[in-house]
C-alpha cells in the first residue's frame, strides 16, 4: 500500500473521530431513517426453510390449514405492478383493480366488532362475525346487515380509505386475485388490529390475516394468518 493511501486512511480515520459539520448532518439524516420490516412473504419463505413454526397449527382447529407452503415469494413478482391500484365506484360496489390483486366488495365490508381475537379463536369467531354481518363466507357481494365502522373510528388506520386498504392488501397478499370479504377492526392479544378476511380464486377456504392498524406498503407484517376450509 502506498504512503499516500496510508495517509488518506489515517485522514479518514481522524475525520471519523472528529467529524465535520457536514458529517454530523449526514449522521443526523441517516439516524432519522425509519426502521424496516422484513416483507411478510420473505418471512414466510424463510420460515418454511427452517423447521416450521408449529404454534399456529397446534392452537387452531383441524380444519385450519397452514398456508405458508402456498405463498409464493412476492419479491419475485415485478415490483412495479402493484402500483396501479385504481378505484372505481360502480353500482354501489367498491372495486379495486391492480395487476396484483383484484378486490370486489359490497358496501360496508369494514366492521368494528371489537372482538378480542386470539390464535385459538380466529377460526370460530371470524365465520360467526361474517354470519352476523350477513357477509356470506362464500360470496363477497352479500349485503351487510350490521352497520359498518364509522369513519372517525377508522382515522389513522389502514382501513380509513380505499387506497390505504388497497395498499395493505397489496402488501400482505401474494395471490394474483383475491376477493376481500370483510375487514374487522378488533384486538388481537390485547393490541388493536385489523382482521382481513379474503378469498383467493380457486381456493376452497377463507384466508384470515391479522395485521397491525398501520398495515401498508411500509408495514407488511402479518401477526397471524390462517385458512379456514370451506365446510
Amino acid at each position: 500500500m502506498s504512503d499516500s493511501i496510508l495517509l488518506e486512511d489515517r485522514e479518514a480515520q481522524a475525520r471519523f473521530e472528529a467529524p465535520h459539520d457536514s458529517d454530523m448532518a449526514v449522521i443526523s439524516l441517516l439516524s432519522s431513517l425509519p426502521s424496516l420490516t422484513m416483507p411478510a412473504d420473505l418471512v414466510a419463505d424463510l420460515q418454511r426453510r427452517f423447521p416450521p413454526q408449529t404454534a399456529l397449527i397446534q392452537q387452531t382447529p383441524a380444519d385450519v390449514i397452514d398456508i405458508s407452503s402456498r405463498r409464493r415469494p412476492r419479491w419475485m413478482a415485478p415490483l412495479a405492478v402493484a402500483a396501479s391500484v385504481a378505484l372505481l365506484l360502480t353500482l354501489g360496489a367498491v372495486v379495486f383493480r391492480s395487476t396484483d390483486v383484484t378486490i370486489v366488495n359490497a358496501d360496508g365490508p369494514v366492521l368494528a366488532s371489537g372482538t378480542e381475537y386470539s390464535a385459538s379463536n380466529l377460526a370460530t369467531e371470524v365465520p360467526e362475525l361474517l354470519n352476523t354481518a350477513g357477509l356470506s363466507a362464500t360470496s363477497a357481494v352479500s349485503e351487510a346487515r350490521i352497520a359498518p365502522a364509522d369513519a372517525a373510528a377508522l382515522a389513522g388506520t389502514f382501513a380509513a380509505s380505499p387506497h390505504s386498504i388497497g395498499s395493505c392488501i397489496d402488501a400482505i397478499t401474494d395471490a394474483p386475485t383475491a376477493q376481500l370479504v370483510a375487514i374487522d377492526m378488533a384486538t388481537f392479544r390485547g393490541t388493536a388490529v385489523g382482521v382481513i378476511t379474503s378469498r383467493v380464486s380457486g381456493e376452497k377456504g377463507l384466508t384470515v390475516s391479522v395485521v397491525p392498524t398501520n398495515c401498508g406498503a411500509e408495514n407488511a407484517a402479518i401477526l397471524e394468518q390462517i385458512v379456514i376450509a370451506d365446510q
Binding site: 473521530e17 449526514v26 439524516l29 425509519p34 424463510l46 415490483l79 395498499s167
Partner: protein, 221 residues
C-alpha cells in the same frame, strides 16, 4: 412454545441459549432467533445492496448458511453479531459476483410507497421522499462503505462490533465510514440544508482539502 426441557418458553431464553438448543436439535430455536433479528438483518441487507430482490436473496443465503452451520458459532461474539456477519458477507459476496452495481432507486414498494397511492399528510410524504433519497444515495456508495455506514450510522453498531461483522480492523471501519459520509454529504447536501436550493453548502477552507481528498479517493474506488 417451550424449550426441550419443557419448562421455559423459547421466547424467554437468550440468544446463546437458543443457539445451543438449535445445535442440540431443537426444531424451533432457530425460528425464534430469526423472529428476533430478521428485521435488522433485512434493513442492513436492503440498505447495503439497494435492491430488494438482491437483499432477499442475500438474507436467504445468509440465514440458511447460519442455520446449517450453527455448530461453528463459538460464542466469542454475540449471536446477533454473528448473524449480521454472515448476512453482510452474503451481501458483499453477491456484489463481488456481479460486474456492475445498480445505482437506481430502490423500488417504491419496499421503501417509499408511491405518494399517489396513499392519502398522507404533506410532512409524512416529505419524510418518505427524504428516506427514498437517502436510500438512493446509500445504494450508490461502494458496497463496503455502504455496509460500514449502514451498520454505524443507521443501525447504531459500535465500531468494534461493526469490525467483527465486516471482518476487518476497526480503523478500516472508520475510514470506510468517513469516506461514505463524505460522499453522502455531497449527494445529500440539499437535504441537509433545504434553503440551499439543491446546492451543497460551501465548506470552510480548513475542511475543503481534506474533503476533496476523501471524495477523490471515493471516486477511484
Amino acid at each position: 412454545m417451550e424449550s426441550d426441557a419443557g419448562s421455559v418458553p423459547l421466547t424467554e431464553l437468550d440468544d446463546r441459549a437458543l443457539m445451543a438448543l438449535h445445535v442440540q436439535g431443537n426444531t424451533d430455536a432457530f425460528g425464534e432467533l430469526f423472529r428476533r433479528h430478521r428485521d435488522r438483518l433485512w434493513s442492513v441487507a436492503l440498505r447495503t445492496l439497494g435492491d430488494p430482490e438482491e437483499a432477499a436473496d442475500a438474507v436467504q443465503d445468509g440465514l440458511i448458511s447460519a442455520y446449517r452451520n450453527a455448530a461453528s458459532y463459538r460464542g466469542d461474539a454475540a449471536v446477533t453479531t454473528w448473524l449480521h456477519r454472515i448476512v453482510v458477507n452474503a451481501c458483499l459476496d453477491r456484489v463481488r459476483r456481479r460486474t456492475s452495481r445498480p445505482t437506481v432507486a430502490l423500488p417504491d414498494d419496499d421503501l417509499a410507497p408511491e405518494a399517489s397511492r396513499l392519502t398522507v399528510r404533506r410532512d409524512a410524504m416529505d419524510e418518505r421522499e427524504t428516506a427514498l433519497e437517502i436510500n438512493r444515495a446509500l445504494a450508490a456508495l461502494p458496497p463496503d462503505q455502504a455496509a460500514a455506514v449502514v451498520l454505524i450510522d443507521v443501525e447504531g453498531w459500535s465500531v468494534e462490533e461493526a469490525a467483527v461483522i465486516l471482518d476487518c480492523p476497526p480503523g478500516t471501519v472508520k475510514s470506510r465510514c468517513s469516506r461514505g459520509r463524505v460522499k453522502l454529504a455531497a449527494t445529500l447536501g440539499h437535504l441537509r440544508n433545504p434553503e440551499s436550493d439543491g446546492r451543497v453548502p460551501t465548506l470552510p477552507d480548513s475542511q475543503v482539502s481534506s474533503a476533496e481528498s476523501l471524495v477523490k479517493e471515493v471516486g477511484t474506488r
